[in-house]
Amino acid sequence: MQQVVAVVVFGLAAVVLGAGIFRTSSMVRSALSLLGSMAALGALFLALEAEFLGVLQLMMMATEMAIMAIFMVMYMMDPGGLGKMEMAHQKRVAIAFGVIAGLTGVALAVLPAWAPIVAVAPGPTLQVHDLGIELLTRSMLIFETAGLAILVAMVAATAVAIVRRRP
């Protein structure tokens, strides 16, 4: 029962903070809201007994959102939101699509007869051990592909952003 309460509380926190991103005209508040939402997701993973993924999510998102906040202050005309700029368009269409997607997802979550759930999860130590074995045996090619994708993205991002020198 405690686990259900924890999942509901952290899940609702993630959803409410996620909605808060688009409800403020301050970029800094938006970034903090997203940070809160992602941190709540990390706590949700911990509540679901996926300890390694929860800690990874918390650490990764804290760094990622800090970088995002810096970029926001750099590139936004009004990062503090003091001018109350309107930063949205086609709101009705966007709300309609968002609601349809959300309700479809909820229907797909509630309606099917899911297989019986497994009550006992492997302990945190065993999870990390077995994930390591999985990454370095059966899923090694996938893991290497992810590493290669990171390298390609780093080169691509640098190539796009670099100042071109005229000959």
Partner: protein
């Protein structure tokens, strides 16, 4: 452990995904659009973790999938900010409504 945990987790993922879609479609700023994409991927993460934990905790391919989606989130940020930097240098703004010349 109750059987409601799976639908609850999936519904939370669906909520995050719906809010993300709203953000991607409604925001005019490139950085805000990227935030919407992050939320959508966050919704996908919740689903993947719930499926792994509640249906197949003995099969770690589910966790590998989660790691891949986390990688995707980082890549989307890196490339997105690269494009934002290039756009800001060229036009002084990352507003999508000022990028009409990209229309086919």
């Amino acid at each position: 452990m109750t059987s409601e945990l799976l639908p609850i987790s999936l519904a939370i993922g669906a909520g995050l995904f719906g809010i993300g879609i709203y953000g991607v479609l409604s925001q005019t700023n490139l950085v805000m659009i990227m935030m919407g994409i992050e939320l959508m991927l966050g919704g996908a993460l919740v689903n993947l973790v719930a499926f792994w934990r509640l249906l197949h905790p003995d099969n770690y391919a589910g966790q590998v999938f989660v790691l891949l989606v986390m990688t995707l989130m980082a890549l989307d940020m890196a490339v997105g900010f690269g494009i934002a930097t290039a756009r800001f240098r060229a036009k002084g703004s990352v507003e999508t409504e000022e990028a009409a010349e990209l229309k086919g």
